[in-house]
């Protein structure tokens, strides 16, 4: 089996290496993906005039490809729910999950807890900055959400899972992740109510200051906040379930 796998891998790899001769050279500005006929040139040239967002990646992510990003967020949400569905019947089936949360048997280390208390607010503040400043610098809802989730996971690692679940219990995390998708899809439906297509941010102009182009920018911000809610909650749910084998107590 191992030898067969190796042979298959070597054949596939040598075919791919042979084909790499036809690929464009490194940094070729006229390669098929970068040439003037491609849509990416339109993104680079038009996105600032149309959306007032200097970060082109955010403009493409949340505006031009808003549908795509919305369903990526839904994929994350569904993955979190599936993890809970798979793991919730492990362990003791007759006891409610996370019902009688006992205190962590070992007392958490003083130095670790104090360091975490010092570091976690800074991580969370930086995560909020990354979400809010994603239009002007690298960042956005996904990155900021993962950072915020990481701060909760850090607290769970330092003081045990029950302590972190007291801050953000699993049902509450699921509600939070659903709120994120409701914010995203709700903003799309609001655009429809105001006469546009789904996620056509220009039509929210009457509700927001500073004109049609800026409405795109603000719509992106709202959508990114929705993404950040979902990603934060689901990252924490994934950690909480995987680290405790679905029992939501004990943990690592």
């Amino acid at each position: 089996m191992k030898l067969l796998g190796l042979v298959a891998v070597i054949i596939t790899g040598s075919l791919l290496l042979y084909a790499s001769g036809d690929f464009p050279a490194w940094g070729d500005a006229n390669s098929p993906a970068n040439s003037n006929q491609q849509v990416s040139v339109r993104y680079i040239q038009d996105s600032y005039a149309k959306t007032k967002t200097p970060n082109e990646v955010t403009a493409v992510l949340a505006d031009y490809r808003g549908f795509d990003t919305m369903f990526e967020t839904v994929v994350i949400f569904v993955a979190g729910i599936a993890i809970i569905a798979i793991l919730s019947f492990l362990g003791e089936p007759n006891k409610p999950r996370g019902g009688d949360i006992e205190e962590h048997p070992e007392t958490p280390d003083l130095i670790i807890v104090q360091t975490c208390k010092l570091v976690i607010p800074i991580i969370q503040l930086f995560a909020l900055y990354v979400v809010a400043h994603g239009h002007y610098s690298p960042g956005g809802g996904f990155q900021g959400g993962v950072m915020f989730g990481a701060s909760l996971i850090l607290w769970a690692l330092a003081c045990g899972l029950p302590a972190a679940l007291k801050r953000l219990s699993e049902p509450r995390a699921l509600v939070l992740s659903a709120i994120g998708i409701i914010i995203y899809a709700g903003w799309g439906f609001l655009c429809m109510l105001l006469g546009g297509n789904f996620l056509e941010y220009a039509f929210t102009d009457p509700l927001l200051p500073e004109g049609v182009e800026k409405a795109h920018s603000h719509g992106m911000l709202i959508v990114e906040i929705g993404v950040a809610f979902t990603v934060t909650a689901i990252m924490f749910v994934i950690y909480a379930n995987l680290s405790s084998r679905g029992r939501l107590k004990g943990g690592l």
Partner: protein, 167 residues
């Protein structure tokens, strides 16, 4: 012997060096594929899947590179030019007799900025990759709970004996 070395060096210089990024990604990808096919342990298979995924992410990002370009975020200078044009056109709308001209927005040279599209596609792929990996780990935990092992051959043997017992 010296000639052979020179020929080999020329061959490498002609084929490998210009496409060194693709060679690295293909080798990385094949490492992941080998782990997915040949490893017996489910977690090692998942590690192989992650390596495979990383190779594809690197491949996409390297497609968007243009030599001499910067990150796909407009600089402060370009933003100011846009604002000046916009301010002027606003004045034109208010007082057409004082400001008769309408300025066009400055054109941006696309070669100055890296291609944003692969970055966007991979940004979402990374996060979705994390959640699918979490799902796969959850399924492995379920399998371990059911069969007491994450070695593929042991699981298959148990499945076989169980189905034989049912018959």
């Amino acid at each position: 012997m010296m000639l052979d070395h020179a020929m080999l060096a020329n061959l490498i210089e002609d084929t490998v060096v210009p496409k060194i990024n693709f060679w690295i990604y293909i080798i990385l990808m094949m490492t992941g594929l080998y782990a997915m096919i040949s490893k017996n342990n489910l977690i090692k298979k998942l590690i192989g899947m992650s390596i495979f995924q990383t190779a594809i992410i690197l491949f996409y990002v390297s497609i968007g590179v243009k030599s001499g370009s910067g990150i796909p975020i407009l600089g402060a200078e370009t933003q100011r030019e846009f604002h000046e044009v916009e301010h002027h056109n606003h004045e034109h709308d208010e007082h057409p007799e004082e400001f008769p001209d309408v300025y066009a927005y400055p054109t941006i040279n696309p070669d100055d900025y890296a291609n944003p599209l692969p970055h966007v596609l991979m940004l979402t792929a990374i996060v979705v990759g994390v959640s699918t990996l979490g799902l796969a780990l959850a399924i492995s935990q379920k399998i371990y709970h059911e069969y007491g092992s994450i070695e593929e051959d042991e699981i298959l043997a148990q499945i076989k004996t169980r189905s034989d017992n049912d018959d």
